[in-house]
């Protein structure tokens, strides 16, 4: 059975990681028909027309980003794939790369051609060592077949591609920190501007794109921008992979058209909640976006609809929280994550995430003070927009969302020194038994 309209359509075909099967599915036709046949600008125009937006979290228009790279450059230009996939709740890039590595290679060749780059890197999080082996094998196969190298499919265009393994640091998903890491430094972010398109890897023009973004590119270049718009809506065209986790019956990756109903995703694709549990809250775009209450479940899964509800589509990591889970406890878990992952470079994020964790720990453990809720809101407010990079925002937004929709649970903790719902995470049994 097909698991989605485009990227997941034929992804379960046996042997797809091999070049032969990939080619049988029309693989590398986009490279054959455009590299050296179209101009780089023509390729950029097709991607612009498709309306494709970055799937790494920010939703920035991909074609527009490519057009920022200087057409003439005395320095080498680079294309870098962000395969760090570190946002909690997100596990789509891992499955996409594991099952269809050649599609990513093809997307990188096309992106490289469009921006005038002859060298690309795929930056994988350290835990993806087995994914690196799958990609390296596919890259070697493509190189042997003349698809990568000095003369890509006889076009005269040269493109080299390498994988690069990180070593455990959430911050390396942030594009400038990723570039620092790729250069062999501690993975700390850099000031923007200059943006990577002007000064990125080795201070040269660089485009950083997410795995899913790059994988949409071959389909778009082959079939046209208008064709891609058969899915989604005007401002959010195309399809998106959503990673659903938490106590639903069938968690997993689902590719749906943008604008698809979140309610249908949970109730149909995921089979609804596990027996005996009700949905209480939902985090729609990875742990860094504000959560929504169950009442907002019917929000369409697209960038604008989520913004209208005060949250973000983000990475598409949909985390479902049930009625027996304490929101204060869940938020403490998330905040502790950002405290752990703060790179330590700037004060609002380094100190603020620590204090938010402290306050949440107090509240959860029944030693919270009357002023703690306001203190928590105040610290979050002092991080948002004031940190060096967006990791600070990622830590502050979940706090603001939880306080907005579930303030009563925090107040209960202060007043009664205990949870409103009487269950702690450590009591949750292995529900998978």
């Amino acid at each position: 059975m097909s698991r989605g309209p485009l990227l997941f359509k034929d992804i379960d075909t046996p042997g797809l990681t091999g070049l032969d099967v990939y080619k049988k599915q029309g693989g590398y036709e986009a490279v054959a028909s455009s590299v050296g046949k179209k101009t780089p600008d023509e390729v950029i125009e097709i991607v612009k027309a498709s309306g494709l937006r970055g799937r790494g979290g920010a939703g920035f228009p991909t074609g527009l980003k490519w057009s920022f790279v200087p057409k003439q450059s005395p320095k080498a230009r680079y294309i870098v794939c962000n395969a760090d996939e570190s946002e909690p709740g997100t596990f789509k890039d891992r499955e996409l790369m594991e099952l269809n590595p050649h599609l990513l290679i093809e997307g990188m060749i096309l992106a490289g051609f469009a921006i005038g780059s002859h060298q690309g890197y795929i930056y994988l999080r350290g835990e993806f060592e087995y994914v690196q082996r799958i990609l390296d094998k596919a890259i070697a196969e493509a190189r042997a077949a003349g698809i990568l190298g000095d003369n890509v499919m006889g076009s005269g265009y040269a493109f080299q591609l390498y994988t690069h393994l990180g070593a455990g640091a959430y911050i390396c998903g942030e594009e400038t920190a990723l570039l620092s890491s790729l250069e062999g430094y501690r993975g700390q972010p850099r000031l923007k501007p200059p943006f990577p398109a002007v000064e990125g890897l080795y201070a040269s023009p660089t485009v950083v794109n997410n795995v899913e973004t790059l994988m949409a590119v071959p389909h778009i270049v082959k079939n046209g921008g208008a064709w891609y718009r058969q899915w989604g809506n005007e401002k959010s065209p195309g399809t998106k992979v959503f990673s659903v986790s938490g106590p639903v019956k069938r968690p997993g990756n689902y590719e749906v058209p943008l604008g698809y109903s979140m309610k249908s995703l949970i109730e149909n694709e995921c089979g609804g909640m596990r027996d005996g549990l009700k949905l209480k809250a939902i985090i729609p775009g990875g742990s860094s976006v504000p959560m929504l209450p169950a009442a907002d479940l019917d929000t369409p899964l697209d960038y604008e609809s989520m913004n209208a509800k005060g949250t973000f589509l983000g990475s598409g990591g949909v985390i479902v929280i049930d009625d027996k889970t304490c929101i204060v406890d869940a938020l403490w878990n998330v905040t502790r994550f950002y405290q752990h992952e703060s790179c330590g470079k700037c004060t609002p994020c380094r100190e603020g995430t620590y204090w938010m964790s402290e306050v949440l720990e107090r509240l959860e453990n029944g030693t919270g003070r009357d002023a703690d809720i306001d203190l928590l809101a105040d610290v979050a407010d002092n991080i948002l927009g004031k940190s060096f990079c967006a990791l600070g925002d990622a830590a502050a937004m979940p706090v603001q969302g939880a306080l907005k929709h579930f303030r009563a649970e925090f107040e209960h903790h202060v007043k009664h020194k205990t949870c409103l719902v009487n269950r702690r995470r450590e009591e949750v049994a292995g529900v998978r038994a």
Partner: protein, 169 residues
């Protein structure tokens, strides 16, 4: 990220690359226009060779990528997957982040603690297991999950963990 305050731990006085590792280091260096970029790949090669990054290993890496030892130490201490102290034969890395936690990771951690008699960051006396709490492994739909070395183990519960530990001699 980051290991917090780290003090260098004693290890072997000097180390040398094996022939195989030497070829891999050369290959890593060939992938980048700037030598320094190879520091993570070469640290990985060292960790695979010796299981952890001793001061001698970092010295060797520094020589290979042409950096001062202190720079390599600075980089290695930033990334949590580099072992700055020796670890057990099986490095159990249990995800504690929200999605896994909602599915029972906290209870599983207690189970492992009790069964092995060690806590976060500790190694069993026989050197068989090191237990570590880690953050989201991008396996959230199959939580609770644990990486043993680089191998993913998903959809875990107490019985599955027990069976797994039996197999990991």
């Amino acid at each position: 990220m980051s290991h917090g305050t780290v003090m260098p731990v004693d290890g072997p006085a000097t180390l040398e690359w094996s022939e195989k590792a030497k070829a891999e280091v050369a290959d890593a260096l060939s992938r980048y226009p700037v030598k320094r970029s190879a520091v993570l790949p070469v640290l990985w090669i060292a960790q695979r060779e010796w299981g952890w990054l001793s001061p001698a290993a970092m010295r060797l890496v520094a020589g290979s990528v042409g950096l001062p030892e202190s720079e390599v130490f600075g980089v290695a201490t930033f990334y949590t997957m580099f072992n700055l102290v020796p670890v057990g034969r099986h490095h159990l890395q249990l995800c504690m982040t929200l999605s896994c936690s909602l599915m029972g990771a906290d209870r599983l951690y207690k189970h492992l603690q009790k069964k092995l008699g060690v806590s976060h960051g500790e190694t069993t006396k026989d050197g068989r297991y090191t237990l570590r709490k880690v953050e989201c492994l991008a396996a959230c739909g199959k939580g609770p999950c644990m990486q043993v070395g680089f191998d993913y183990h998903e959809n875990l519960d107490e019985a599955k963990v027990d069976a797994l530990l039996e197999k990991l001699k």
